[in-house]
Amino acid sequence: MAGSNPTSSGYIQHHLQNLTFGYHPDNGLSFAHNAQQAADMGFWAIHVDTMLWSIICGVVFLFVFRKAAKAASSGVPSGLQNMVEMLVEFVDSSVKETFHGKSKLIAPLSLTIFCWIFLMNLLDLVPVDWIPELAKRIGTDFFGADPHHVFFRIVPTTDINATFGMSLSVFALIIYYSIRMKGLSGFIGELTLHPFSSSNKLAQLILIPVNLLLELVTLLAKPVSLALRLFGNLYAGELIFILIALLGLWQLPLHFAWATFHILIIVLQAFIFMMLTIVYLSQASEEH
């Protein structure tokens, strides 16, 4: 438990606050000292902890895979190469089952999504106080910060910015593939001429706004649901870890139980994000 926080709600709030760096109207370029200041910074602020840990995860993923890729040969694989090949084959077969077009991007994209999200989610299993406490020590000892003002959340996927960052990138790809495969007119036609269509020109004209509304909702629901599903699962998991951490000695068995269950969630959520990305992209690139 963070000893410097007297109340449970303070402890929880402290744990759910990102380390935010940005331009504050009063303080200038600085780290936010509390949630209010972070909110005041508006859009032009950055969550340093989210960025740092997500990039660490990505670099670890790419480092490990690059190492295996360099050593990859058609001989008998061993250890690391085995694991990497297993993952690559798993992703490759998932992509081939769902996406029937030809694309050099989709399979590596799926692999990156799966491994990156998995590693970021994995940070959720690190006991909730370890790294924030370490950050607090470093912050106060080396930078002279007030311990109450050092926030540090290490799980990037519990930050909605991270999940939306990914899902919006996927959304951009969905639109790109739709336009590339069907042409701009085909894409617009898909948005306006389905699901209701009529041979009567006037009736069709009336139906266009209805179709557009329905299809836009369908389209926009994709990135939103992708981002919120991952965020919601991990945020809730994190919150439960924090609540368990408040229980004193009882936290030991409970933490173990929840962590065990959480292993399932982190893999599952990474897989779901990957599978849905493939499905959305295959929908985007197929004619109806």
């Binding site: 859009f43 058609s74 990156t112 909605i160």
Partner: protein, 156 residues
């Protein structure tokens, strides 16, 4: 939980990671996988090919074995006939030889007998003449009686 610049930073990081993965991770690994698949396929093909060849070789060997066994049996049979034939021939020859020898011996004996008869004949006539000469004391006209005595000897 504010939406802020992080979202853009995350998107950029994501794009960079995907690009790196697409460029430097995916191709070598899939290439290695493909190559291994090909290798295994080739190996399996070679194995089944070899199996087939072995089967063929076995059949060939069996065939050869069967042929040589037949050959051997044939040769054996031939040898047996040949030996029988030879024995038969030898027996035949031996018998012919024996008969010939017997015939020779017989003719020789006959000649011997004839010669002995001839001898006897000539000696008998001389003896008879000598005997008669003694008996008669007087000389008998050898010329006139020889003819008669010769006739007598031929009758012997």
């Amino acid at each position: 939980m504010n939406l802020n610049l992080t979202i853009i930073g995350q998107s950029i990081a994501f794009a960079v990671f995907v690009w790196f993965c697409m460029k430097y991770v995916w191709p070598p690994v899939t290439k290695a996988l493909y190559e291994r698949q090909k290798k295994i396929e080739d190996g399996l093909n070679a194995a089944s090919h070899a199996e087939q060849k072995l089967e063929e070789a076995n059949q060939q060997a069996e065939q050869t074995l069967r042929e040589s066994r037949d050959e051997a049996a044939k040769i054996l049979e031939q040898a047996r006939t040949r030996s029988n034939q030879m024995i038969e021939e030898a027996r035949e020859q031996a018998r012919a030889e024996g008969e010939r020898m017997v015939a020779n011996a017989r003719s020789e004996i006959e000649q011997e007998i004839n010669r002995a008869k001839e001898d006897l004949r000539s000696q008998v006539s001389a003896l008879a003449i000598a005997g008669a000469e003694r008996v008669l004391e007087s000389s008998v006209d050898e010329q006139s009686h020889r003819e008669m005595l010769n006739k007598l000897a031929a009758e012997l």
